[in-house]
């Protein structure tokens, strides 16, 4: 059986890749994709801890279900926001979204 530290290392690597995407992408949909990667890494950590630390109650897996719920809602609202912005300023790039500035 693989030790817990390797699952945590995999979660750390995937989380850092998602963070890099959030920091460097211009496309707002690309930023949302990177956020989903980060949430996936968090889910992996929660499931690994629920397997190794507290196996009887499965609290980590229940938390992971809630994380997926919030991720689904976030993706729906975020993509609706991007579509609404695209209708008004005809771009999906985050550095073009400055219409709140005066």
């Amino acid at each position: 059986m693989t030790p817990l530290s390797q699952y945590l290392a995999l979660g750390a690597v995937v989380f850092v890749i998602g963070l890099f995407g959030v920091l460097t992408r211009r496309n707002a949909i690309g930023i949302l994709i990177s956020i989903e990667i980060m949430l996936g890494a968090v889910n992996l950590n929660l499931v690994a801890f629920s397997r190794f630390v507290e196996t009887s109650t499965l609290n980590g897996q229940v938390f992971s279900v809630f994380v997926m719920t919030v991720a689904a809602g976030e993706a729906a609202v975020g993509l609706a926001l991007i579509l609404a912005l695209y209708k008004s300023i005809k771009a999906v790039f985050a550095d073009k979204f400055n219409i709140l500035r005066w």
Partner: protein, 171 residues
């Protein structure tokens, strides 16, 4: 954790971990956003394989259903509704690539050093069974308030998405 342990990890975990990392890099680094969304779907398939290795069968299935079946499809819809043909040649990254790489490498080094320095509990029990039963009981007993709040949150997200996606008529 040391590197000889990494070499002795089961082959299935190594392959799934390598696939997850490769597809995650593809999802953040490919130029075409459509390819990024497909790479994201492949990464979630690999991660749900890791969930199966962790005896979380219910979550593996839910992950494929929710992420690959709903979120990635939603993203592909948004991409084909917003992209223009020429946008594959538009620059996709901002000016933060080199500071971003440095920051991410620093964060990864910190996380890995903490993970290696700590002593983690090892697995003592056998394979986990009845995960669906336990998760259902927990959702409706211990975490019932969070369950109800999550349903209200989903309703609010539904109404908000419909409102934002509606055609706004200006007077």
């Amino acid at each position: 954790m040391n590197w000889s342990e990494l070499l002795s990890a089961p082959l299935a975990f190594k392959m799934l971990a390598a696939a997850a990392v490769v597809f995650a890099i593809g999802a953040v680094a490919l130029k075409n956003v459509f390819h990024c969304a497909l790479s994201l779907a492949a990464m979630f398939f690999a991660l749900s394989g890791v969930f199966v290795l962790l005896d979380a069968d219910f979550l593996a299935v839910v992950q494929i259903l929710v992420y690959v079946g709903a979120i990635v499809v939603l993203m592909i819809f948004a991409i084909v509704l917003t992209e223009r043909i020429t946008s594959a040649s538009v620059r996709q990254t901002n000016y933060l690539v080199i500071p971003g790489v440095l920051l991410c490498i620093a964060l990864l080094a910190g996380l890995v050093s903490v993970i290696r320095a700590s002593s983690w509990p090892s697995l003592e029990s056998g394979p986990q069974q009845d995960t669906i039963k336990i998760i259902g009981r927990q959702l409706l007993s211990t975490h019932v308030e969070a369950f109800e709040v999550a349903s209200v949150l989903l309703l609010a997200a539904l109404v908000g998405a419909v409102f934002l996606g509606k055609e706004i008529t200006r007077k």
